[in-house]
């Protein structure tokens, strides 16, 4: 059987890829997908623990997280549409009116 630590390492790597992606991607949609990647890395952690323990609660949390992620996606895309209408650009670096 594949040891638990491998799963954990994989999810940590996925999480890190997500984090780096948020920092280096300029396109809002890409950033958004990187955040989803972070959440799914966490889901993998949950599932790995759950499966390894034989405890079902971890898998239930995954459903909750997916629901939340879906709600976030809906709101996020709404915001993206609003900003695209006003600016006609999906580059986050254009969104820098607010600074001092």
């Amino acid at each position: 059987m594949i040891p638990l630590s491998w799963y954990l390492a994989l999810s940590a790597v996925l999480f890190t890829i997500g984090v780096v992606g948020v920092i280096i991607k300029r396109n809002v949609i890409s950033m958004f997908m990187c955040i989803e990647l972070m959440l799914n890395a966490v889901n993998l952690t949950f599932v790995a623990f759950s499966s390894y323990f034989g405890d079902v609660t971890g898998q239930l949390f995954v459903f909750i997280v997916m629901t939340v992620a879906a709600a976030e996606a809906a709101v996020g895309l709404g915001i993206v549409i609003a900003i695209f209408r006003n600016r006609e650009s999906l580059d986050v670096d254009d969104a820098s009116v607010l600074r001092l």
Binding site: K25, R26, S96, L100
Partner: protein, 793 residues
Amino acid sequence: MTNHLLSIVVFAPLAGALINWLVGRRTRNETLIGFVACGAVAVSALAAFTIAFTGWGGAALTGDAATPVMSHLWTWIQVGSFRADFGFAMDRLSGIYACFVTFVGLLIHVFATGYMHGDKGFYRFFAYLNLFMFMMLTLVLADNLLLMFVGWEGVGLCSYLLIGYYTDRKEAGDAAKKAFVVNRIGDWGVVLGIMLVFFLTSHAGAPSISFFDKTAATVGGGDGVKSALATIGAMPIEAFGWQMIFAGGITSAAVLLFIGATGKSAQIPLYVWLPDAMAGPTPVSALIHAATMVTAGVYMVVRCSAIFSHAPTALFIVAIIGAATAIFAASVGIAQNDIKKVLAYSTVSQLGYMFLACGVGAFVAAIFHVMTHAFFKALLFLGSGSVIHGMHHEQDMRRMGGLRKYMPVTFAAMTVGWLAISGFPLLSGFFSKDEILWKTWSTESVGTAGVGKFLWVVGIVTAVITAIYMTRLMVMTFWGGERFRETRAGGEADEAHAHAYDAGTKPHDASLPSAGDRPRHEPGGSVGAPGHDAAAGPHALEDEDEEEEHHGPVEPRESPSTMTVPLVVLAFLSVVGGWVGIPYALSGGAVPNYFERTLEPVVARAPEAGAANAQGESALQRGAGASAQPPAAHGNEGAVPQSVGEGEAGGVPASEHAPDPAEISRERLFTIISVVVALVGIGVGWLWFQRKPLYEMPRLLENKYYVDEIYDAALVEPIKTGSREGLWRFFDVGVIDGIVNGMGRGMREIGSLLRFLQPGFVRSYAAIILIGALAVVGYFAYFAYNAVLVINR
């Protein structure tokens, strides 16, 4: 005992402020506003005197048992063992303060009704002034440290409002802000000091920040409160040494409290706000920046004398700072040309004297000087206000001269003040200053015993300089040629402006040079009848007629009686005010030293070198306890009170012992020295400035040793720049963007595919969060590593 009249003392001015703000704002009737304001203070004064002197009120000052009169309103905070009440108490110390604050305050209110006559913001001025009285009385009569701090902050706020009263003048706003900021810098010391006192008393098992012992009956249930001062007074005296300042003990608490005092009472290094505060109206300068608020620091030090007397290091610091401030400010004062600036530096210098007295353990002498100073300095300020008023708001002494012909009453009154502050024999300032100098010379306090002689020299030199600069002020103002007729030093523009302004053709413009303290009349608008009340006397009506053409003539003229009557009363007090505290050596016991006898039971005595009961390895020793007789060598130490802590009726006051004849003769010798010094100072000043009234003073002095500039360059600018360039850039954009940028450039240079790596703000923020996150995770990882080590062992 309990007497709820105390609440009236405190709240009457608040009521006056509210009425003037709500009603006065609508009616704008100066008579009504003046009456309400003065009436409120009069009620307060009446109540204060009743409590202080009558048996019915509780005889806080004159009673045999030195128990405070209390009034508990409600329990303000109670969290765990931390408790602060909303309650007032008048013991002998706060009694003296309450009496002179209300009385001098009343006189200045009356004066102000004349001085501010015709000002657009008449109601606002008196509302602020009454609010100030409320806060000052809260400060003085509070029965615990936290409520005292309420008053402490409150007077600061009112001072801020009143300095910035002329809102159309930029320098007023700046001065107000400076005063507030500088005071807040000192205030953190007070806050921390209060907390440390609580901390110390908690460790002693009686957590408290109260000044007095309060029974369950007084506070309305519970266990009652033990006095924090008594608790600390029962602790051993701390050793003398610099390390004690940071030891977190009594010395630290005392030093922290003193930091607050340097802010409020304008001592080095936080004195810079007081001279600028002269941008406020002159009655404000008299009330707040001379007579009352600025002495709050002295009040606090004396109130906490139990704390300070257990901290010889702190006493040493107090004495050194006081002496340094005294001589420094006096030397600056000699070179100022603005009449109010001279008086401002004089105030700073005199406050230095008071702290010098505290530092050498002569707390009673300090309060004595506070009181006499309140009389003669209020007199001098009001006198200068009268001069400024009569001169059509000219403050530059170089454009005065020969005024004694035109303003005889003001001249006579100011002469009294001049002689009193210079230490002319038998006037009030003479007794208090002489007492401070003598106590400085003869100090036996652990902290200052070694440097007493040196401090005395500083004090004497200061006394000479004081006499010189006050003589210079008088000579430049009242004697010599009538320079106001000449047009020089930019005076033409200013005078022309003043005429146009007076004639109602030109609105007041603050930007012109030497814009004095000038009430804002609405040009052409009619002003209400000048305020007057009973104190103004029967001449008030005549003055009214004169007021109408007030700004017509060029000649300087005497002020109305609402202004001169308070001057006369204050002049009288400046003469006789010192007679309540004539030292034994001078009177030979014929006149008891009432002042000392009254205060003695409520202040602590400083630890003395040479007494019994050694403490620790240092030569530090503790003064003989309340019951023991002072050693014979200190038989003269009548002014150093015997009991520690509040509310104890100490033993027989030492002043009633016949002191050692040798000491008496030495004290008499020093009195003679003081007299000579005063006369020499006056003589030198007279001879010099009579001949050359416009003598150019050294630029270094005239520019106040460039302290303001140094502060700006050394503190204000770096903080601003640091904030602008440092932290903000670092945390918000600079560094992170730089890194992201730099990474991007590096990537581009190696022809990476990541060419879209550009600086971007959201992404910079994410990067900052990531860096923070890595730091937190790293921090936790260190502990995790430790935990794993422990488990594996």
